[in-house]
């Protein structure tokens, strides 16, 4: 098998695999749980990369952890202030826009991209990607982080619009497991958050309960 892409050449990306997928009635946002330094030392085996920026809006980060923490902290504050002014929960697009403004205006200094997913009353379940330079787009599903290169093919082949909650959980778990299997800087457990009109549910699949594929 050929060597995987050299992380130095693909820019600074956190050793991670993150994704968000829309299904019929909600979204699932998921990630692995490994934090590593330079790919040779695992500094944290159980880090939670899914950050709640509001009741039904979560985001996860690709890029520098420090930048990501600073940006999400600002975004959380701005969003809670915004929802008090509006007297209503913020739209998912508003959350994504807040992140986008911060990323774009500080694009020279920052090295972080975000996936935002959530549910609001106006448009239901949504997934947004804010890239490192500050581009904002809405997609049915999106993958990110260093481990995501290995699952582009799988995600393209297996994603179907309007899946059920169970199918979507299976798709997300499989995708993260496959990426963890090939990317040495992704690992640990699979964290997933299922967001629907009824609320938010955190699902954790420990390493030994992950699906096994042909060579295991």
């Amino acid at each position: 098998m050929d060597r995987p892409p050299n992380p130095q050449n693909t820019g600074v990306s956190t050793g991670t695999t993150i994704l968000a997928v829309k299904f019929n009635g909600g979204v699932i946002i998921g990630s692995d749980s490994r934090a590593s330094i330079g790919g040779s030392y695992v500094s944290n085996k159980m880090i939670n990369k899914l950050i709640q920026v509001h009741d039904k809006i979560f985001c996860c980060i690709a890029g520098s952890l420090a930048d990501a923490q600073a940006v999400t902290k600002m975004a959380k504050f701005q969003l809670s202030f915004h929802s008090i002014q509006m007297e209503a929960p913020p739209l998912v697009k508003a959350a994504a826009s807040v992140l986008k403004e911060l990323c774009y205006n500080n694009r020279e200094e920052l090295q972080a991209g975000f996936i935002t997913a959530g549910w609001d009353r106006k448009r239901g379940p949504q997934v947004y990607t804010v890239s490192m330079g500050g581009m904002l787009i809405s997609q049915p599903f999106t993958i990110g982080g260093s481990g995501s290169t290995f699952i582009y093919g799988y995600a393209d082949a297996k994603f179907k619009p309007d899946m059920s909650r169970e199918e979507c959980l299976q798709f997300t778990t499989n995708a993260l497991t496959l990426a963890i299997g090939r990317d040495n800087v992704s690992g640990g457990v699979v964290h997933m958050v299922v967001i629907t009109e009824d609320g938010v549910e955190h699902v954790v699949v420990p390493g030994d309960k992950l699906p096994k594929f042909h060579d295991e």
Binding site: M1, P4, G153, Y154, F159, R182
Partner: protein, 216 residues
């Protein structure tokens, strides 16, 4: 008088930007590739067949520097002809792979090409060998080239033991289509060759006839 600051060297044609795949089934192998040869940003050949015959029932798939890969294939083709005359029968796939490995290893520093060798022989049936960097390893299936990064997840999920010839052909075509969609450096048409005891069957699938996925 000072000389100019830039060199006039052209980037050399390479098939590093490529996707190659080979899979063995009971009684044979299927080996496939895309058809793009690029030199820097320019596509110099959009219909190149990267599947090169080493003998009647042994093929190899080329990736890396186009010149190095083609030369290695030609040399091994010649060496195999001599060998099969000396032993008086068709060569083993392992012999072909060993010849490729010998060249890869001896000229490791000078050459930059990876060949996947696959074929059928009477003794061990269908076999796939990888010869990256001068190692020799037999695998149930193998992928290579830049486009292969995107389909690791897909092939890990989809491969199962005991696949039939038709399953393997579908597997190869789907994998190539997914990689060609995502890798800017793979594209064109998909070639695949099915080798079993009855012979060698070469097929080409045009770009617009490749399988499509949810976003097309």
């Amino acid at each position: 008088m000072t000389t100019g600051g830039f060199s006039l060297g052209q980037p050399t044609p390479s098939v590093k930007a490529t996707t190659i795949i080979a899979i063995a089934f009971e009684g044979g192998v299927v080996i496939g590739s895309d058809s793009r040869v690029s030199a820097g940003a320019s596509v110099v050949n959009r219909v190149m067949n990267k599947l090169s015959p080493l003998h009647d029932k042994i093929y190899c798939a080329l990736s890396g520097s186009a010149a190095d890969a083609q030369t290695m294939a030609e040399i091994v083709n010649y060496q195999l002809d001599v060998h099969s005359i000396e032993v008086g029968e068709d060569p083993l796939v392992r012999s072909a792979a060993t010849l490729v490995k010998n060249i890869s290893y001896k000229y490791k520093e000078e050459l930059s090409a990876h060949l996947i060798v696959a074929g059928w022989d009477r003794r061990a049936g269908g076999q796939v060998y990888v010869t990256l960097d001068g190692l020799l390893a037999r695998q149930p299936f193998a992928i290579g080239g830049s486009g292969s990064s995107y389909i690791y997840g897909f092939v890990d999920a989809e491969y199962r033991q005991g696949m039939t010839k038709k399953d393997c052909q579908e597997f190869v075509v789907n994998a190539l289509a997914l990689a060609m969609n995502r890798d800017g450096s793979s594209g064109g048409v998909a070639y695949f060759v099915t080798i079993d005891k009855d012979g060698t069957d070469e097929k080409c699938i045009l770009g617009n006839k490749l399988p499509t996925f949810f976003d097309e």
